[in-house]
Amino acid sequence: MTDTITPRSLDELRDAVIDRPGTIRIAGAGTAHDWAGTPEPADTVLDTTGLSGIVTHNPGDMTVEVWAGTPFGALQTDLGEHHQRVAVDPARAAEGATLGGLFATADAGPRSLQYGSLRDLVIGATIVLADGTVARSGGHVIKNVAGYDLTKLLHGAQGTLGVLARLVLRLHPTPQVTATVAASCERSAMAGLARRVADSPVEPTAVEWHAGRLLSLLEGSESGAEARARRLAEILGSDAAVLAPDDATQAWEAHAAAVRARSDDRAVFRFGVTPSELPRVLDALESATGVTASPRTGVATVALPADADVVATAHRRVAEAGGTSTLRQRPAGAALPAFGPAPASATVLRAVAASLDPDQRFGRGRLAPWLPLPDQTGQPTGVSA
């Protein structure tokens, strides 16, 4: 019988980890409950949504410390009052995803072209380990090289290794104006067109291909962003135009909707390869639908039939191109491979996991098979580095 506990302070969180024996599945808003490896049944579900809100926000320092269970959308709204933002835009933020959940799943959106992902914006964290140790790393200043950047370890850890209690983020000013240039473009032509965008001096925040169009996002000052958008449309020629604000909102919303789509018979596959490999890999994924692709970063999200062989082949194809892939939302109960072939660095992952959570209390199954389940004797396997 799984028991759910919702701590409301750091002390309660630590006590929950210490007092509950057995395995723990960390849950935020549940928007990525079916991403990555399928979790094993856990003795306790640790609901982080009670750890919510801003701890400290110093607008003049452009930093904020936030409880990990805070809904990302609410955080952006609060920061927006100070004309500031966390410069990431993952699609599932609109579904109520928490900051900690986005961080643990290494989620990011189109603006990663300019700003990277949360790993590039996090400057500190407070975490709780499986033995109840509360550890801080980083700090409240953007520039800081003191000690290991332990926070990075939880980025993409999918709820293994430790629980995020609080995160400190660097902020960026909200741009005064956002403009979008759309260019009609077959998928086979997106790489060449995107290259022309990149070679122009307009410095787009995002460049994404979706549904037969290449979308370029320009952000900046009132006069500057619009001028850059017009300039880019001119450079790209007759098939390109600056979208009206409502059309732009709709275009990006359709993009996000494709990324977070769920269906009864398809699974969402996310991967990254070098930009020049992207068209070839996409072409090889013949059954892919709902494609969104970032031709300048090399990251794409597609829907594949919920078939273990199809998904395994897709993982293999990405690995052969030197890239990385993770399976995201999938039909309930579908047994599909979450990851591709284990890289050599899986030995390091296992060693780190063995040092921080030797009994694999947190998120068991989430990183399987790279982090294998403990064997019958209860001992984790494959922990030697």
């Binding site: 003049g60 590039d120 800081n144 950047d149 993409g156 070679d199 996310r270 390869v273 992952l349």
Partner: protein, 508 residues
Amino acid sequence: MPERTMEAPHGGTGNDAPGAATPPVAVGPELARAFRDVLPADLVITDEVGRRSYECDGLTGFRQIPALVVLPRDADEVAACVRVCARHGVPFVARGAGTGLSGGAMPVADGVVISLQKLRRILEIDVENRRAVLEPGVYNLEISKAAAPYGLYYAPDPSSQQVCTIGGNVAENSGGAHCLKYGFTTNHVLEMEVVLADGSVVTLGGPTGEQAGPDLRGLFIGSEGTLGICTKVTVRLLQTPETVRTVLADFPSIEAAGDTVGDIVDAAIIPAAVEMMDSLSMEASEAATGAGLTVDAPAALIIELDGPADEVEAEFSHLTAICERHGATRMHVPAEAEERQKVWKGRKAAFAAVGRISPDYIVQDGVVPRTRLAEVLTRIAEMGRDAGLRVANVFHAGDGNLHPLVLYSEAAGEHDAAEKLSTDIAELCVELGGSLSGEHGIGTDKACSMPRMFSSDDLAVMHRVRHAFDPDDRCNPGKVFPTPRLCGERPGPYRPHPLEEAGVIERL
């Protein structure tokens, strides 16, 4: 000048980590023979003169002659050398150009220095994908030079960029004057090949920011050589900005300059760089460079904007209006690139130039939240007065990274007072919510101050992670973490690095 040779910990004996200590090892001829099995004999340095040239990095007060120095020529040879160390239970210190300022590359007694200076190839400039693949010994500035014909550059620009290596940048997570807008090494490295303590080779990171599993890449960057040796790095290249505009503005007070920075941030402008100098540092720099600084101004800002022309022009007029509102007494806008370089020279030469107004000095590297700049500068001035020592200030105002220069005279017996003042300043930064180090690293220099910033639990967790990578403490032992043996010692006085004396590098 007194020289203090550190008795550095070796194996696990000097570390306060829980767990078994490995017994000291005697480095004998058999170790040299083992290296000669994997390297040509002339790449295994055993003579004292040869070894002595590796005794310190840019922080010259910490010195230790290593037992052996090896000079592998490629990643396979690095891995072979690490395996020899593993087999013999000998610690090793990876070393790039030795320009670090925190003693991070100081050798270990009875240990081996693995120099990466022969791994100097730029393996690829990939224009289509805007990335470069590099061996660790490539100089930072060489990357941008190789990318320049394609309109691309590598953003992190530590001031030693002519002579510091990308491998060292990875170890230290180096920044530079332009990191306020563009970030640090960690934001620009996509993928790395790493040799672990047991000699195995792994790849951390991937070709994009997309991650499958935890960000081991991000953990490794900035770990100061304690988790392994990086033998290949893939970095992102950026397009050279269309426009660059720079202003040198004088202010009637440090506070006025600080408020100007605050208003720039509030105006949603992210400058590529915002640097501040006080009158003492300007006096020194102007005497050395004739860059056009106003020596009797209490403070000056150098602010640089870059980006698309449409954006930069609008922001620049806003920026100069903000400077005027805060009573800027002079604004110099260099018209051409050459003139701009001259202004930057005035800024970058400040450290070395301080030698003109003081026989000895110590460079600090603390960080405070930007809004506490005025407060920390007032406190530093008070502490300097109390200690009877002058402190010059040159710093990255945009991100609160201070570089106070504590001026003193070794001959007048002021060393210990200066050392104490310097440490007190770094610890004051922590007290104000900042950090011990913004870019120089902890290394040997600040390891003893780490408990001011982190609890024993925080440090113990870092140690656990370190042991996951390196169970026997063989990678650069004695750095980053405080050890009883180390913390009983104090470094010798600052002495200019030979490259600095030759005018090849500056300290920023």
